[in-house]
């Protein structure tokens, strides 16, 4: 069930975030005057655009999409988008599946909602899928190499020292080592004999 949810999550993030990323990146590039470097494509004219139009760009089926900097600008969005989504979802097969699902969602959207003939929209090329898979793989490899950062890693980075007794996982109920009394939590003291359970049990790690 969790696996299926991860596939849907990845596909949904892709479906929503890629158009946003395309528009935002184009807007920023245009505002920064980067057209001379070939980053601003002919897509953004400074006026509101229809979703239909944006999706056609994302699928590289718009006029001139495969020419010059337009092509690279769209691939950049696919690459960056899936790189970030991999970081969110953290499930490699689900994200790769999400790339394909997103591609298919767009095609379904255009063919059903805007009645585009399938012959037009499917599949002109697989560059977006290829770039998406490469970006997700790259993100996955980098994450693997970096390792998982836990809450405690973040704490130690801020210089907070956590006593060992606080880190021991405690299977409840606990039994006092001195009087064998049941305690329903990892309390510091035994309620019956007052023994310091943190020192007697958790610091030694006997509860692991």
């Amino acid at each position: 069930m969790v696996k299926i949810m991860n596939y849907l999550k990845a596909a949904w993030f892709g479906f929503i975030s890629l158009p946003i990323l395309l528009v935002v990146s184009q807007f920023i590039a245009r505002e920064l005057g980067l057209s001379e470097y070939g980053i601003v494509i002919t897509l953004y004219k400074g006026a509101p655009m229809s979703i239909n139009y944006i999706v056609r760009w994302l699928l590289l089926i718009e006029n001139n999409a495969l020419t010059g900097s337009n092509f690279y600008a769209v691939l950049l969005v696919w690459g960056l988008g899936w790189f970030i989504i991999m970081d969110w979802v953290r499930d490699y097969p689900a994200v790769v599946g999400g790339v394909v699902l997103t591609y298919l969602f767009y095609i379904i959207y255009l063919s059903i909602y805007h009645r585009y003939p399938l012959v037009l929209v499917f599949p002109v090329n697989f560059y977006p899928i290829l770039i998406g898979v490469i970006a997700a793989s790259l993100s996955f490899i980098l994450r693997k190499r970096r390792g998982t950062i836990t809450f405690f890693d973040r704490l130690s980075r801020t210089g907070v020292l956590v006593p060992k007794a606080y880190l021991v996982h405690v299977e409840l109920p606990v039994r006092c080592p001195r009087c064998n009394t049941v305690v329903l939590s990892n309390a510091k003291y035994c309620w019956k004999c007052g023994v310091d359970l943190e020192k007697e049990l958790y610091e030694r790690g006997e509860m692991k």
Partner: protein, 601 residues
């Protein structure tokens, strides 16, 4: 300074009656009082008896700000307040309210203390003198350079008292200054008040519910009920009649009540004086126990074994709240919870205690699914709360706010109770049945068409609980349910929770009121700086004064009296009834004590 009372009254109230505009009933009824300089007067009474109205007639808010019909006179230094301007009254009377933040005007502590004198256009050297006096009287030297908003509750209240003292008033009124504070903050403020007793010659009028802590400072106690003064005299005289206080919903100091009960049972001589402090009471009882042949010597560990068994048995019930390695770090870096592991089982009545900042509220917010754990899991009925929807959670857990008025917003009691179930799609007969059931449980039948706000506070509390019960939650959480209420109202409310617990609802109560936790909770969890300090049956936890002291908490006074008598075989007690019974058992034997207890019932 000299604290001798002078013969000239600093404050005289003559035939004073008052009613608010548009109201039919008089809130104050023919009050006659005389106060001398240097006196320390304790004013007590149930909520709504007119205490605050009385002090407002002294500090001039009535009639200068709040209008109404006032009969009679209030004389300050022989001058009627009606003829004085509010500014003039303020040079004689200073008031400190429950919430210090409502009276802060500036950002720094020094500015706050000198704000009053500056407004009187006093010369700079006089302001400095007053600052020095106020700081000495209240001991706030270490706070002078601080920002007002960075202070703890107790520190804020001490600064508010210092600001009042800087006015060098003839009359200082303290209106429940510890109500909103945790035990540590309250102790801090009470120490300041004790210090004031020796530092000023002003008349001090204190309204306070923590009688154990303040009675020892009082020269006189005034008891108010329904706008009238029903008792006026030295503490030993007034507290010699605890029944009168119980009748009006005030809990007398445990020390006084214990001794009066023992006198009535014939276990102490009728001329035994009424004690003011728990130590005094413990000494009196110890003297008696030491001087008489002890009939039964009980082993304190075996007197209440069923309670310990109940705690251990609880784990056999289904765990309904399961907290595993829970850590919470707020964005500002504060680590509020540090690896909490805890199980709460079906049918438990759990009291959660601790100082402010111990993590009580953070823990509750996690159980309610409002906060996301930094690390760890919180499960309710085996399900991660983060994955539960709001609707699902609201049908499982009900939260009762401190102030019931925050929960009431419909125009009739019926609509109020039906609001929750309607929101989760309950309709028709099912809705009717749920509302009817909640009305019956909370004894609100007949109130269906009344406006919730038009009810008394106790009834409003019942409506608030009914509106939660109609959701049929299996867990009820009450956060500080007794703040700002007198003992009678608090007791009724906790009795209600106990009844629900008997019917199968699991109850979690967070409170600073040790008396009520001791009386009603079966299990107590003590939190300290994000960790659980002790978790066990209520009696066992309160018997460990040494461990509780680690977090500046103390068991109820009656328990402390009992704990002092351990060498005579008195076990840990939680109520005054238990203490008196155990003393009777020790002196006369269980048979005699049972007979007397039966007769008393």
């Amino acid at each position: 300074m000299n604290i001798q009372a002078s013969s000239d009254p600093v404050l005289k109230i003559k035939n004073l009656s008052f009613k608010f505009q548009g109201s039919k009933e008089y809130v104050l009824k023919n009050i006659n009082l005389v106060f001398n300089k240097g006196e320390f007067v304790l004013l007590i009474g149930p909520s709504g008896c007119g205490k605050t109205t009385l002090i407002n007639t002294i500090n001039g808010i009535i009639p200068h700000v709040i209008e109404g019909i006032r009969k009679g006179h209030v004389y300050i230094q022989g001058k009627d307040t009606k003829e004085m301007k509010l500014a003039e009254i303020s040079t004689h009377v200073a008031t400190v309210f429950q919430d210090p933040e409502t009276q802060f005007f500036t950002l720094s502590v020094v500015d706050e203390i000198v704000f009053g004198p500056e407004n009187l256009k006093l010369p700079a050297d006089e302001i400095e003198k007053r600052l020095e006096f106020a700081v000495k009287a209240t001991g706030v030297e270490e706070l002078l350079e601080k920002d007002v908003m960075s202070l703890s509750g107790g520190q804020k209240q001490r600064v508010a008292i210092a600001s009042a003292m800087a006015m060098m008033p003839d009359i200082l009124i303290l209106d429940e200054p510890t109500t909103n504070l945790d035990p540590k903050g309250a102790a801090e403020v009470l120490r300041t008040i004790a210090n004031l007793r020796h530092q000023t010659n002003a008349l001090i009028i204190l309204i306070e519910h923590r009688l154990e802590e303040v009675t020892k400072y009082a020269d006189r106690v005034l008891v108010m009920n329904q706008g009238e003064i029903i008792a006026n005299g030295p503490p030993r005289e007034v507290f010699n009649n605890p029944d009168l206080l119980y009748e009006i919903g005030i809990r007398p100091p445990w020390a006084a009540e214990t001794i009066v009960r023992l006198k009535r049972m014939g276990l102490l001589n009728a001329d035994t004086p009424v004690p003011i402090t728990p130590d005094e009471a413990a000494e009196m009882i110890a003297k008696k126990l030491g001087g008489q042949k002890i009939a039964v010597k009980e082993d304190s560990k075996n007197v209440f074994p069923h309670e310990e068994e109940e705690y251990v048995k609880a784990m056999k019930n289904e765990p309904i709240i399961e907290i595993i390695d829970l850590w919470h770090r707020y964005p500002d870096g504060t680590i509020a919870l540090k690896g909490i592991n805890l199980k709460i089982h079906r049918g438990e009545f759990v009291g959660i205690i601790g100082q402010n900042g111990a993590g009580k509220s953070t823990l509750l917010l996690h159980v309610l699914g409002i906060l996301r754990p930094s690390h760890g899991v919180v499960k309710v009925y085996g399900k991660n709360v983060i994955a539960m929807s709001v609707g699902e959670l609201s049908q499982t857990i009900g939260l009762i706010f401190q102030n019931p008025d925050l929960m009431l917003f419909q125009n009739t009691v019926w609509n109020e109770i039906a609001f929750g179930p309607r929101n989760i799609g309950v309709k028709g007969e099912e809705l009717e049945a749920r509302v009817k059931e909640a009305l019956e449980m909370m004894r609100l039948v007949g109130f269906e068409n009344r406006h919730p706000r038009a009810l008394s506070r106790g009834q409003r509390h019942r409506v608030a609980v009914a509106s939660i019960l109609s959701m049929r939650p299996r867990i009820l959480i009450a956060d500080e349910p007794t703040t700002g209420q007198d003992f009678g109202a608090s007791k009724k409310y906790l009795e209600l929770l106990r009844e629900l617990n008997r019917q199968g609802t699991t109850i979690l109560v967070v409170s600073h009121d040790m008396d009520l936790i001791a009386r009603y909770a079966k299990r107590v969890i003590v939190l300290k700086e994000g960790r659980i300090l002790i978790d066990g049956p209520t009696r066992a936890v309160f018997s460990r004064e040494d461990l509780l002291a680690e977090t500046d908490l103390a068991p109820p006074y009656v328990t402390r009296i009992g704990n002092k008598l351990r060498k005579f075989g008195i076990p840990t007690v939680l109520t005054v009834e238990e203490l008196v019974y155990q003393i009777a058992v020790t002196l006369k034997g269980r048979k005699w004590a049972d007979k007397i207890a039966k007769e008393a019932m």
